[in-house]
């Protein structure tokens, strides 16, 4: 199970990476594998304002659906359009090409609530 360092993780299995004032958001390999073959990613609208923990968008597989919760508060500034045509990109590379959206954070202090890779690995170990 890959849990890259340098990313922060939420209890709902999202990851977030802050570069400058823009953060990239995706889901962890654990979440991606739990969902199986994805069939659709309902990307959020650019400009959508989110609070930490808000539902940002939904991901569907054949017989399951999951919500992606925003790991921090802010405004969606870009979405990964490639996922709309080929959701398998997320399954194949959930920490890279399979990112879901980018957001401009309202308050970087939100990130303090999140886990680093070691803590997230502990969480997965306890499930």
């Amino acid at each position: 199970m890959s849990i890259p360092s340098g990313l922060l993780y939420s209890e709902q299995h999202e990851w977030i990476k802050l570069e400058g004032d823009v953060a990239t958001v995706g889901i962890s390999q654990h979440a991606s594998e739990a969902l199986g073959d994805l069939t659709f990613i309902d990307l959020p609208a650019v400009g959508k304002q989110l609070k930490q923990g808000d539902e940002a968008c939904a991901i569907e597989s054949c017989k399951a659906a999951a919500s992606v919760y925003s790991p921090a508060g802010g405004k969606v500034v870009e979405v990964n359009e490639a996922l709309a045509n080929d959701p398998a990109i997320l399954t194949n590379d959930c920490y890279g090409e399979g990112w879901i959206f980018k957001m401009k954070l309202d308050n970087a202090a939100d990130l303090a609530n999140l886990m680093d890779d070691k803590k997230y690995a502990d969480l997965l170990g306890s499930l």
Binding site: T39, F40, E60, S61, C62, K63, A65, S67
Partner: protein, 443 residues
Amino acid sequence: MPYTPHSASQREQMLKTIGMTREQLFADMPKDLGCGAPHIAPGLSELETLQRIDGLARRNNQPGISFLGGGFYDHFIPAAVPALVGRSEFYTAYTPYQPERSQGTLQSIFEYQSALCRLMNMEAANASLYDGGTAIFEAVMMAVRITGRNKVIIDSAVSPIYRAMLTTYTANLDIRIETIDAADGRMNRRDVLATIDDSTAAVVAANPNFFGAIDDYSDVAKAAHAHGALFILSVYPISLGLLKSPGEMDADIAVGEGQSLGMPLSFGGPYLGLMTTRKTHVRRMPGRIVGRTVDGSGREGFVLTLQAREQHIRREKATSNICSNQGLCALTSLIYLSLMGKSGLVELASICRDRAAYAMNKLSAVKGVSVKFPQSPVFNEFVIELPTRADTVARAMVAKGISPGMPLGDMFKGMDNCLLVAVTEKNSPHDIDKLAAAMEGVL
């Protein structure tokens, strides 16, 4: 007992096998629950049941000559339709959750979706909804989801029954319904167009409308689109043998009551809710959808698809709470459309139109009777104004074995003398002559 097969000794044998007594089967239900058998009559034999029901059936007396429509029409049903729908492999099957064993149901739904798209000139259809009224509600909900807005404009010439249902279903939701009163039996275009703004999710209209008037709503669709709103059109499917289709008017969601496609009137149901849309909105569409795919050896087959939108997976976040479709009614309409075929539906619609025009002439020749909205083009239904109350006239005529149509006084203020008259292929020119003569007789 009628439908429990075990003999007494088999029951004994089964209880012995499981090592229980009859009482123990229900020992987990506390005695103090205050329950007991319902106080209803003891069971009847099949013959007695049929006799009892026959007694009720005798108290129904649908007039042999009827011009009653109002959104529900008495069309001819070819004998092959009930014969095929009555095959128990179709009607006693469950929802096709086991696709390998349900290709009959699944392929027929795929064909139904295809037939509806062809009829409406739309790109996607679901496997059906309950009826024409819930179809409008679901279309409105879909538009609210797609646009993220909550104002819905509806023409008052959409069926008052459907508008009442829409009010019920949206009562607790953050949706504002703005009803625009029709003018002279047609959409009040000026007011509708002036009401569309950037908070509008959808404009809802019907073709023909409740008064029978037909229209081309392309301009309304265009105005809605200019504000980022959707245009929802409810149609009478038989009329699409002739009339401009929702797709040709650039509707975003087309719905309708499908009863006229091979289903009997049956005092209000079961009917069929039609729903079609554009490809781009498929994932926001409620209800079951069947898709074509392949098996491991490349053989083509059909499955329920996009199930992740549905309530059994999405629960409170589902696109709708509906679980079933009107499966057998959808099959009925498909078989009906297959029999009617490309030219049959055109022919049928033409007969309805021609005979309605004939009836309009005949009735307006009756002394004191006039066509209420002479400027409105119509398909098979129209409003006439009588010199007296329409409900009294209808009562007198029904008693004589002719139902002349629907009195509108209870539904629309100031229309006490108005009667909505529908004509189908089942009303011969001779019946129409009788209608006019009988009306003359009671006036």
